[in-house]
Amino acid sequence: MSMPKMFDARIEGDTLVVESLGNAGSLVGEEMAYELTGLLDQFEKSDLHGAVIDLRNSPYFGTSMLQVMTALWKRVRARGGTMAVCGLSDTGLEILQVTRFDTLWPICSSQEEALKAVAEP
């Protein structure tokens, strides 16, 4: 049995926008991470410069997710771009703050704000 799709990805200008779909009913960090790994390839093969990760439907995540987010961010940074995160729950924000990733990625309250943050030079 295959896992339900957990993320949707689309391109806005030169930014990859990744949205969680809320299919993660329980902690399934490994599956989420596995699916996000496919998005890394998508970014690698394109000429995109920025990325937005919208986690509004994923109230929690652990280090598996953080690892893939870090990997995506490194690819974005290598192209001189920015990665922003939005739609965080209180717990999601706490996780980024505890792990200090909030110092690396702009944390935005909405996808629109995140897209603006990524577009800024």
Partner: protein, 298 residues
């Protein structure tokens, strides 16, 4: 008496359904003329079961089923459907309806369906009530190295903690994240002895090694032992793997700018932040997590 709330905008149908239900003298039938009326009446006195027509103006039976399932999860809903509405009936079942009866089968099926649904509902209600009386829950697991079991175990422990009133949704989530990190450490780094660095450098190689070691001695024979002790005042979770153990003190400091881009040490940091107390054994292959009852649930 068992209360049945019948919802239908047609006075004729209300009368007809009421007639079939009153054949059972233990049932007390009350009527509502539409979905809004039904919800008002449910706020006043909770029925034991709701029987609703599908097609109604404003809020139809499908929408009403959704609202009742969310607001009154212990009250079962039975839908009455007309010919050709079978697909919608299936949708209603997905939204939480307990059952449905085709209009043309009311005479021979309605009463039996109501009785069967009530029987199941009482059982569920008593189970819920019984769980509310639980004062302590201790359990133990010996998991093999299947990552798929981790999510299932966490969901089980979160449910138990919530059942005991130990934590609200937010604290339950924090508990889940900490447990996930501790269990993944026990699985990947403890039992399978795979270095975190490999995961960061080459995810595919990491996954391949996980698959290989899950089939290979001595790794495949190792288990993750979990002992959970939950009470309304707090809980402890002892997670022990059968690996050689590790020295927690040598983990890189995630706050160090030099290690900011990696994720090593962040799992342990998360565990320490999200739990009230964290103690490793001397060998470094067992960790005890302590969660006290959060003030929001007191």
């Amino acid at each position: 008496m068992t209360r049945v709330l019948v919802v239908d905008d047609s006075p004729v149908d209300l009368q007809l359904v009421g007639k079939f239900l009153r054949e059972d003298s233990t049932l007390e039938v009350e009527n509502a003329v539409d979905g809004a009326d039904a919800l008002v009446k449910m706020e006043q006195t909770l029925p034991d079961v709701v029987v609703t027509d599908l097609v109604m103006p404003e809020m139809d039976g499908l929408a009403l089923t959704g609202v009742i399932t969310e607001k009154f999860p212990l009250v079962p809903v039975i839908l009455i459907t007309a010919r050709g509405n079978e697909e919608i009936a299936v949708q209603a079942l997905h939204r939480g309806a307990a059952s449905y009866v085709p209009k043309r089968r009311l005479a021979d099926k309605l009463l039996d369906t109501v009785r069967e649904v009530l029987r199941l509902s009482y059982r569920k209600r008593h189970q819920t009530q019984l769980m509310g009386c639980m004062t302590q829950h201790d359990c133990g697991f010996a998991l093999d190295n299947d990552p798929g079991l981790i999510g299932a175990l966490i969901a089980h422990l979160q449910d138990e903690a919530a059942q005991l009133g130990l934590c609200d949704v937010v604290e339950g989530t924090r508990l889940g994240v900490a447990l996930e990190e501790a269990l993944k450490n026990a699985l990947y780094h403890g039992n399978l002895e795979i270095d975190q660095q490999l995961r960061e450098q080459d995810k595919q190689a990491f996954d391949a090694l996980v698959r290989e070691r899950r089939e290979q001695a001595p790794y495949r024979d190792r288990r993750i032992h979990v002992v959970a002790k939950l009470s309304p005042h707090g809980s402890t979770f002892e997670i022990r793997d059968e690996g050689p153990g590790f020295d927690v003190s040598i983990l890189p400091d995630p706050a160090d700018p030099a290690s900011l881009e990696g994720t090593s040490g962040r799992g342990v940091l998360l565990i320490r932040t999200l739990m009230d107390d964290v103690v490793y054994n001397e060998a470094g292959n067992a960790v005890t997590l302590v969660k006290r009852r959060c003030s929001r649930t007191i």
